[in-house]
Amino acid sequence: MVLRIATAGSVDDGKSTLIGRLLHDTKTVFEDQLSAVEKASTRYGDGSLNLALLTDGLRAEREQGITIDVAYRYFATPKRTFVVADTPGHAQYTRNMVTGASASDVAIVLVDARNGLTEQTRRHLFVASLLGVKLVILAVNKMDLVDFDEATYHRIVAEATAHAQALPAPVVLNPLPISALLGDNVVDASTNMPWFTGVPLLDLLETIEVPGDHNVGARLAVQWVIRPYSTEHHDYRGFAGRLTGGSLAIGDLIRVLPGGQQSTVIGIDRGGVPQDTAQPGEAISVQLADDIDIGRGDVLVAVVASEAPIVTDRIIADISWMVDKPLETGSRWIIKHQSRTAKAFVGAIELRHDVATATHSPAESLGLNDLGRVHLNVSVPLVIDSYDRHRPGGAAILIDEATGMTCAALMIRDNE
């Protein structure tokens, strides 16, 4: 029911203004927020209402007029509820674009109609492709500054479409011309662009259908083992985690990976309340018929699963590198995959993606904001899926052991 949206585009393409416009025109902005923005508009601008200040909440952002970090905003219309991640356009904050896009159903990629596609736009389309964002809306913004010219719009859409189709995983674009500043085609249809026959952005967001996840069969990565040791629940052992991949029911046969033992589900609790079945996304705890050694990091997998995960200590993954310190062949990191934390050794850097041309080239190392593909050796076997088939089983992060910083997002690809 909730639609998760991430914005993307170059700096000054108007992302924060667009979100401010959506919030403002859907009457989501509260009176005290609006009066604070009016005050700030006078302080940081020429006094005309600057809607970007609704999401640029940090002092440094307001002073510099840019977005530094992801801001999350919530709004609802009578038809749908929305969560918007407003992500920065500056190249040095691309890691936050990855973060924003990773948890989104829809990416709105903005392009300044005066400038056309920039390297950042291409990068963001590439990120949307790598991260498997299901729907991409191409919003050609600032149409008011190009006299609402139809030819300019079509030229940009054609260029973006060509780039989107050349991506490793082609992205289908939903294009529309807007003016976030004036509100054209944001909430209300534009009277300045009668040549555009599509619906305004909000209508599109309210009605767009999000493709469902693949059903690969139930998986439960164990986060915590509930053992009350109380008189009442003396023998209770509940394996707690979030169900993904498919539904699970009492009586289902499961296999514990990587160990391989089998057992039968005899109880499912959600928030301490027993239920007969569970659906993907539910935080549950599962009781099994047999007394098996199962701990945090193990994965329970339905034996009848339509697609079995792979147990391996070697993974191939696309990577988004997020820190200044480079990633080099032979370097060691902490890897976190589902509820398992282990060590990872970079066996090889296969390639670096060239985001502008959607091609790739060999690389010795990867630097801040680089996208590439790596081969990792992991200290323990992981229970993995291909990211495209089952996202929770195919996503991982790398952590710097010395600083504790999150350094990379990994999308695990097929081991072929």
Partner: protein, 312 residues
């Protein structure tokens, strides 16, 4: 119960489903932090968000008990009803309660009392909180903060890193792709965990209604003697004394948030139960902090400044 919803055309079943999804997300976060951290603690103010947080934490480990203690940072400026309520909940959930006292921080010279008509102990709480985290060697503190509360909070991670000085550095936050939580810290550093990050005020009230979460009585309408100060209704008594030019009067009010009594304002309201509060919240045109927190209205970046210093 019938859920009223004037914000969307969602059916009661859809509302129940959307709140259940938020619950699943929050429980997943709580379990993950409990598993990854050595010594977490749950911050409990007696307000509605921390009541929901405690309710969720208890559910996350049922039928087991809560595997971490609860801490109240006590400003000494309390609403009596809230302390009664706190002690009732501690008894109900059978949890261990740690009380960190702002008065003790002042007495020992670690914190200095503010003076003047706007003096409040709100900001001093950061000192007491950080000292208590160090004293008890807590490595993670669960808080009820929500991204919809404030523009600085909108930038907050689910699992948020604090350095040796307890400071938040918004420009160097750890990315959280796919909401994957990185709990790696060095000694002296700690984490703040916000399982309610993606909840709105409306979600909180819907959940309170569906789950029958008990709240302090001051969240519902009652008669109270107040003064109007800077557009806010402050309860007379305790830390709030009548200033020159102010006339106390009796009013039917309720609280939208519960914080330090010296700077938390009441709102005029006749909403006496959860359903009536839901109608009011859905129709509200002013944010809960804007309506009720004098401390956030001092400046445009009041929350950011306090958060940087180590505030909740």
């Amino acid at each position: 119960m019938t859920m009223i919803d004037s914000g969307t055309q969602a059916t009661p079943a859809e509302i129940k489903q959307s709140v259940a999804e938020l619950e699943d997300e929050a429980i997943t976060i709580i379990r993950e932090v409990a598993a990854e951290c050595r010594n977490p603690v749950l911050l409990f103010s007696g307000g509605k968000d921390s009541a929901v947080l405690l309710h969720l934490a208890a559910k996350a480990f049922r039928p087991g008990s809560l595997p971490f203690p609860v801490m109240h940072v006590d400003t000494g400026h309390n609403f009596e009803e809230v302390i009664t309520y706190r002690d009732m909940l501690v008894e109900h959930y059978g949890v261990k309660l740690v009380v960190a006292s702002v008065q003790a921080s002042i007495d020992s010279g670690r914190a200095v009392e503010e003076t003047g008509p706007r003096a409040s102990r709100n900001r001093l709480q950061s000192v007491t909180l950080l000292d208590a985290i160090a004293e008890h060697k807590f490595d993670a503190a669960f808080g009820g903060g929500r991204r919809d509360e404030d523009k600085a909070r909108a930038k907050e991670r689910i699992l948020s890193f604090r350095d040796h000085f307890g400071q938040w550095e918004p420009r160097a936050q750890r990315p959280e792709p796919w909401n994957m939580l990185n709990a790696k810290i060095r000694p002296g550093e700690h984490l703040r965990a916000f399982p309610l990050s993606n909840w709105t005020e409306l979600d909180i009230w819907r959940y309170i209604g569906i789950e029958n979460v008990a709240l302090p009585s001051i969240y519902f309408s009652h008669r109270r003697t107040v003064v109007e100060r800077n557009g806010m209704l402050l309860s007379v008594g305790g830390p709030v004394t009548v200033e020159v030019g102010e006339t106390p009067f009796e009013e039917t009010v309720r609280y939208r948030t519960v914080g330090d009594a010296s700077c938390t304002g009441a709102v005029r309201s006749t909403a006496s139960n959860v359903e009536e509060v839901l109608v009011e919240v859905a129709a509200a045109r002013i944010t809960e902090r804007g309506a009720t927190r004098a401390d956030d209205n001092f400046s445009d970046s009041a929350m950011e400044d306090r958060k940087r210093e180590g505030y909740f």
